[in-house]
């Protein structure tokens, strides 16, 4: 083979490769004729399931090739069975999308059974929500900063000692040095609302959906007072949720009472870590094995879905407030931050692990 023909051959190969790469990048992967399933790691009828069923008609029309979209439920292990399956065993062709709710905290609190790595999941998008702490009117306070001055004994209710949602208010009380009794075991937020009404509890917190749906009527009625919120992560910072602009975050309350120096307190850092952990309330993920081009196509579909005006209007009606969504890069950024803090601040992580053990 002479030199010229060798050069020619090389040029052809290069051209072919380049062309191949270009077409792979440009042309969308099509799901025509396929069935795309959103896998819910919980039973039919739970909050995660109901939300996904409402999403379904809106997401289907955004995916190239208009595939049939269905929900598959794989409950068990508090969500871990389904999450492990998505990561390790689901088909790698992109027809299975996992909807994860507690995967982020599971990696911290139940590490033995978790068979996936947070850093390697491919995040297609997610929604974020804040959480709101409210107290009974019997306490006679109107603001979170007055919490330390409450005379009555505080009974703070939550589902379980491991509930990440309850840990921020627990840390708040700890930093304020306020003695309280942690009452655990409630089945749902509904049970805790009933307990507040009958005086069994005088403090608890709820998700934003729960707050708008069922707590707000109690606030209007005068039975309870909201005092603080968790806030959401925006551009790497914890801010007040745009849907609750008048309610201060736990961090603001602590900073107002204790000053800037509190930022060095490991309890405060643990509080911040929790905000990032909850940054992606529900996320849609692909396993690490799903090819990049399939991921890009689906991430773009989710982006369109999350901007769909009809979908936004539907959810506004259904949950009573504007859905704030995260596209793929935004969700990924929060998860990266979580992974980074976990590595950087083992002390804060240990505090959280300790709180999951005893009140």
């Amino acid at each position: 083979m002479n030199r010229r023909s060798a050069t020619f051959a090389a040029a052809v190969v290069t051209l072919c490769l380049a062309f191949g790469a270009a077409t792979a990048g440009a042309a969308d992967v099509s799901f025509k004729g396929k069935t795309v399933a959103i896998l819910i790691p919980y039973s039919v009828g739970g909050a995660a399931d109901i939300m996904a069923r409402q999403m379904l008609p809106f997401i289907g029309k955004q995916i190239p090739g208009n595939p049939t979209t269905i929900i598959k439920n794989m409950p068990g292990g508090g969500g871990i069975v389904g999450e492990n399956w998505v990561y390790n065993s689901a088909p790698a062709d992109g027809t299975i999308i996992g909807q994860f709710s507690t995967s982020v905290t599971d990696t911290i609190f139940k590490p033995k059974k978790v068979k996936f790595e947070l850093a390697k999941l491919q995040w297609l998008g997610g929604v974020r929500e804040t959480t709101v702490t409210f107290v009974s009117k019997d306490l006679g306070i109107t603001k979170g900063t007055e919490l330390g001055a409450v005379k009555k004994k505080l009974f703070f209710g939550t589902t379980s000692i491991q509930s990440p949602r309850s840990m921020i208010p627990r840390l708040l009380l700890k930093i304020l040095g306020k003695d309280h009794k942690l009452v655990t075991g409630y089945g749902s937020s509904g049970d805790m609302r009933a307990a507040i009404r009958r005086g069994e509890l005088n403090m608890t917190n709820d998700s934003q959906s729960g707050y708008f749906a069922a707590v707000l009527p109690m606030v209007e009625e005068g039975a309870v007072v909201p005092i603080a919120q968790e806030g959401t992560v925006q551009d790497g910072k914890i801010v007040r949720d745009p849907r609750l602009p008048d309610l201060p975050t736990y961090y603001e309350i602590v900073l107002e009472l204790k000053g800037e120096s509190i930022r060095k307190d490991p309890n405060y850092r643990a509080m911040e870590l929790l905000a990032y952990l909850g940054g992606v309330r529900r996320g849609w993920v692909y396993a690490a094995r799903v090819p990049k081009d399939v991921f890009n196509t689906m991430a773009a579909s989710f982006d369109r879905f999350l901007k769909d005006k009809e979908m936004i209007a539907h959810f506004k009606k259904a949950i009573g407030f504007q859905l704030v969504s995260l596209n793929a890069p935004a969700a990924q950024a929060i998860i990266d931050k979580v992974v980074e803090i976990q590595k950087r601040d083992p002390e804060a992580l240990e505090i959280l692990k300790g709180m999951a053990q005893k009140p």
Binding site: K32, G33, T35, A37, N66, T68, I71, K72, N73, M74
Partner: protein, 187 residues
């Protein structure tokens, strides 16, 4: 062994189960084990009491000691059992237990869709039914399952272990019949 003997063995087994449950619970902290102790201790006491009563023969089980075949259908249906030969009854009981376990095993090995068809077909044929009835019922049962549970509710049918071992499980045929049936008609 007499009926009373078998009965006492069963009660004894329940007592041992309860004792084991309490022993396990002793390793947990107070919050996880409170219920096990609160309910488990009285239950273990009641079971022990019952065991003693049965061994001493102070129960109604003692009255049935004369029964030839304690495990038969006699207890579910007195009349029919009286007329039946105990050996035949034992054979039938063993046979149906075999089918119940076999059905479960086939679901585990070849998955729901194949297992259902296979066992229905075999059972009916072994029961001496005509082919027309065998095939009719098998097809009806399969069609019902696929239409309602697969196509309608998208139940997640796990693949049979046999297909996992042989590496055939990637074919969608093994996780959803419905997919296979309907996909040619899509767009």
């Amino acid at each position: 062994m007499s009926f009373r003997g078998y009965s006492a063995v069963f009660t004894g087994a329940l007592f041992l189960l309860m004792a084991w449950a309490l022993w396990e619970a002793s390793a947990w902290d107070i919050q996880a084990s409170l219920m096990a102790w609160l309910i488990g201790l009285p239950t273990a006491t009641l079971l022990a009491l019952q065991l003693v009563r049965e061994i001493l023969g102070r129960t109604d089980a003692a009255a049935r000691d004369g029964d030839e075949d304690p495990f038969g259908a006699a207890l579910l249906n007195q009349q029919a059992a009286e007329a039946m030969d105990p050996a035949e009854e034992r054979r039938r009981t063993a046979s149906i237990i075999g089918w119940i376990l076999g059905f479960a095993a086939s679901i585990w090995l070849v998955g729901f869709q194949f297992g259902i068809g296979l066992v229905t077909l075999l059972y009916l044929k072994c029961a001496g039914e005509r082919w027309s009835a065998v095939i009719g019922i098998t097809v009806a049962v399969l069609a019902g399952v696929v239409l309602v549970f697969d196509c309608g509710m998208h139940i997640f049918f796990a693949e049979g272990k046999l297909f996992v071992w042989t590496g055939l499980s990637t074919s969608p045929l093994f996780s959803s019949f419905c997919y296979q049936v309907t996909s040619p008609f899509k767009g």
